[in-house]
Symmetry: C2
Subunit: 608 residues, 2 copies
């Protein structure tokens, strides 16, 4: 039944050979991998204005040069990641690039930040999208957290079904959002050009504004850079592309960068022209849409697609997290289970872990985004900085033909990312300090896990000629609880294992019971030696364990192995197990993990 | 570590031989078994007045005759249970009495009601006690549920430590409460006799009051009978008494009945004399104490001990529930685990089940008692009625010397209990209907469980001469995942089991991998046959299960048994298990419950 529910939710299992069919073409890849980056224009420009408004509306014109700065940063990031795609065609993004050029710890810092960052991506974008919905339907405000959790579950299921299917579903909202913003920007500029839109109050570019300092401008720039979260997703996901993967990925990246640049500049320009001030209740995009369209159907279309893309931005996390986890697991820094492909060929353990972790974050933070966003942005810019520094090192080391412009691009990118990171730490320490605690902890864990896997691997590896000493024979112990068919069945089995010494062990709680049982046994199984142990404390495991220790000690001297044969009857229906003390399960688990004995369970299946 | 925490909380384990030392003398038994009954005087008289106040204060004098009615009911209950103690010296109370005289279903109705009733006892009395505390410290009101849960946990731990120890701790509050009420009643009556207390407004006994109907009086009587909950506890707990258990129990019962009668009459009389009206914020006992003592230290002493005994009334449930569960488990109506004595010789499974169930109730009802009390009272009077009817049948059937007065006592008791039960159903159906749903369900479950145990017993029983056919030999299957020491270890073991056919099974996910592995294997273990299975869907269990089916079918034809030998390496530290896919655990569980094969696990303990 569980299995048929699973089939219904995630679909029939796919054969490994069907993997190729699950790859993405460019159109679908753009939809699935760029929703995070593109959705950032819904809040990036606003972040700039929120900083500038602390000085005054006269400073709003600075948003234009700051936007240029952000666009420049975007260009260096896009160009740099394009270089990364070709240099590392098997994907892995910041983790792989940092690891191979800057060493393992830099790689782990990048990988650790990104792992957490993808969880934050999901939590933040779903919460933001839910806010947009509950803003429209205030009655739902009390169940904010529940709605957000429901969305995460839905997106998790979509991703468990597989990337192709989720791409089909997710492509529409992304393209509709792009369409809506193009309509908005196009209409706005057309109206301005034809003079049919009245400009808002805005200071001319270059007007001096009192109180503007370099610090404020840098802070506005850093805030605006939050619009760039998500641009690294494509370089992580190259293995998901159809062949030729790297060139398809590079084209998709350029297309995404162009779209992002156009949308970003358009929004910043219109906001400036209409003199829009950030307000708590109404977003900047919403204000622009109202100025441009009025409150008509196009306004609601813009708002609706914005809400939708914010929720779907979570999907970028679902594409990137499992692939990053695969890279870390291949290098043995996280558990091996992240390497396993599920029924639908996705890395289901990664998908489920991501879903569960982001649900935990949403519940812990009551789906309130404001405390998570700075952490989220730092988590992006740390790996940005590391990967571009890594590329610098690569060019310097390899010096291929025409490396100097490439090196310069990465240098500019690395420097700017680092500045943004530093500004975040300087201006938002109360929100971003957890990353300083978290990163050392996770890197310690990564190393700890690696050390364990290395130790295990070494102990399991077969050394060339050395062979284990063959076993001379077996000592077989059958714990018995009564004179029943189950015990008979187990004794029959034990007798068939030769060469061996067989003994039955009975654990008595009461003295009188002991003698009675011994006599009955003699009549029933005169050829099987019975050992009776008395348990003062009504425990079965302790006397049995002590007895096994003694037997094992003697057996190992003559190269005999000890086998404990456990009789177990299996009820016909699963629920009936709760009606029976699970002594055999307890004994089995205890012996297996604590003692060096073979544990054999002889099932006796009941027929009714 | 888990073990030493357990030692710290519940104490060192006790030998079975120490059971005698855990028995109760009369003083401790009175404290431990009567807190429920005695604490009822804190709310019983109030329940009567709450009904009468609906007619008017002129009707308050009816509380005197009603109290006489309740005292009469109390006397018949005490006398009847005294008769039960001697008739059934091994305890069991209503369940045993009803079962042996009225048949199994009557017994199960009584037993089922009482099981739930003890859970309600704990939930109701702890919640009521918590209310008394948070009424004194209103700041704690928001954490009501948490406090109540904490008390339940504390009482559960006390009971896990064992009855003697909990008796020592619990004896003081009970005796202090009795002392406080004696002081209160004594001072009150002394002041009235010496004329130093001014009487409140109260109508003389016999004054006609408009609107008083038989229905109202019966309802007030039923409400007042809630003061009698808990009187059956002693008859259930006879096995906990020191020898001679029945006569000690009977003496304790009489003492408890006398105390209860004195306290009840005193409180009812003082309430009537001072003309006290029930109020939502202040309890009747608190009003009496204020009239009698004024707001001095004695007043607070009375209030404090009342709060304490309400919480400790829960302990009655802890004495009675596990013993009732033992009786039901002996008759195979509930799981066998309730028969097992824990480390401290208490029936720990019963204690823990009771604690967990009442915590669930407290959380579900937000520690609000008003919805639980009617259910609780019905749950008591149903078994009262059944057990007394059972005694009637017993006297009629056996007719021992001087049976007629005994029969009359039980007849009066049975009739009155039944009337109280009927009144509860008539006047409080909206609160007590769940019991009408619950009882049929639990009785169905009881029978279902019994049927299962009977079926199992029959299948396990060794028929006189019939012997199982001996096993000719074994087919041994070793699933292998690679060429490692773990596999080598398992193969070595498998080779030592003769006579047998041995094969290794490798499950390949990739075609190329398959051939490579086969070649390596030929070099490594040329004498062990390797079967390679291809898994299209990346599942290990499905191909293995299909293969085992084929092998098992062939083996059973020639009386061979199939053994699956599973290689498993055991990491040195427990936490490290999460780093390894638990394939062997999954395979083991699946094969054991689904297939008729012996499952042997060969552990390979890692050294670092």
């Amino acid at each position: 039944m569980v299995s048929s529910i699973k089939r219904f939710i995630i679909g029939r299992p796919l054969k490994s050979a069907e993997l190729g069919e699950q790859k993405l073409n460019k159109t679908k890849a753009l939809a699935i991998l760029s929703s995070d980056a593109l959705s950032s224009v819904a809040y990036g420009p606003e972040q700039i204005l929120i900083v500038l408004v602390t000085v005054g509306t006269a400073a709003f014109w600075y948003s234009i040069p700051i936007a240029f700065g952000v666009l420049l940063l975007l260009s260096t990031l896009i160009l740099s990641y394009r270089q990364i795609i070709f240099a590392y065609p098997h994907g892995g993004g910041a983790y792989v690039v940092s690891k191979s050029n800057l060493g393992i710890n830099a790689g782990l810092v990048a990988g650790g930040s990104l792992l957490v960052d993808y969880i934050l991506t999901v939590a933040v974008s779903v919460s933001a999208g839910t806010d947009a919905i509950t803003a429209a339907f205030p009655a739902l405000h009390d169940v904010n957290v529940e709605i957000a959790v429901l969305f995460v579950i839905l997106i998790t299921i979509l991703n468990l079904r597989g990337v192709t299917e989720s791409a089909s579903v997710l492509a529409y909202p992304v393209y509709l959002f792009v369409l809506a913003l193009f309509l908005l920007i196009g209409t706005g500029i057309f109206k301005i050009a034809t003079g049919s839109a009245s400009p808002g109050v805005h200071a001319g570019i270059g007007t001096p504004a009192a109180g503007v300092s370099l610090f404020i401008l840098l802070r506005a720039f850093a805030s605006g850079s939050s619009a760039l979260t998500g641009v690294e997703a494509i370089s992580n996901a190259i293995p998901n592309f159809k062949d030729p993967a790297p060139s398809n990925a590079a084209k998709t990246l350029l297309l995404m960068g162009t779209l992002l640049a156009v949308l970003l500049s358009g929004i910043v320009f219109l906001a400036y022209y209409f003199g829009i001030s950030p307000r708590a209740e109404v977003t900047v995009v919403s204000q622009i849409a109202e100025e441009t369209f009025g409150r008509n159907v196009l306004y609601f279309f813009t708002q609706g697609t914005t809400a939708l893309i914010l929720i779907l931005a979570a999907n970028t996390g679902y594409s990137a997290f499992p692939l990053l986890a695969v890279n870390l697991a291949k290098d043995k820094f996280i558990p091996r289970m992240f390497l396993v492909r599920g029924d639908r060929l996705g890395y289901s353990n990664g998908i489920i872990t991501l879903g569960a972790a982001s649900i935990a974050l949403i519940i812990a933070f009551h789906a309130e985004t404001e405390h998570l966003i700075p952490l989220y942005a730092v988590g992006v810019f740390v790996p940005f900085t590391l990967s571009q520094t890594g590329m610098m090192v690569k060019w310097l080391r390899e010096k291929p033909k025409g490396w100097i412009p490439k090196f310069l691009i990465n240098t500019v990118g690395a420097f700017t990312s680092m500045v943004v990171t530093v500004i975040f730490f300087l201006t938002k320490l109360p929100q971003v300090w957890p990353i300083l605690v978290f990163l050392p902890v996770i890197i310690y864990l990564f190393h700890r896990i690696r050390k364990h896997y290395d130790a295990v691997g070494e102990q399991l590896r077969i050394a060339t000629c050395e062979r284990a000493v063959p076993i001379e024979g077996n000592v077989i112990i059958v714990p018995v609880a009564g004179i029943t068919h189950v015990v008979e069945n187990s004794l029959n089995y034990a007798k068939s294992l030769g060469p061996s010494q067989l003994m039955a062990v009975y654990i008595a709680f009461e003295r009188e019971d002991e003698h009675k049982f011994e006599e009955k046994w003699k009549k029933w199984q005169p050829d099987v030696r019975l050992v009776t142990l008395h348990s003062h404390y009504r425990s079965i495991i302790n006397p049995l364990a002590k007895f096994i220790d003694i037997v094992e000690h003697k057996a190992s001297e003559s190269n005999y192995r000890v086998t404990v044969v456990i009789p177990q009857f299996i009820p016909k229906k699963g629920w009936e197990n709760i009606l029976h003390n699970q002594s055999s399960l307890l004994i089995r688990t205890f012996l297996l993990y604590r003692k060096n004995v073979v544990v054999s369970t002889v099932p006796y299946h009941l027929k009714k």
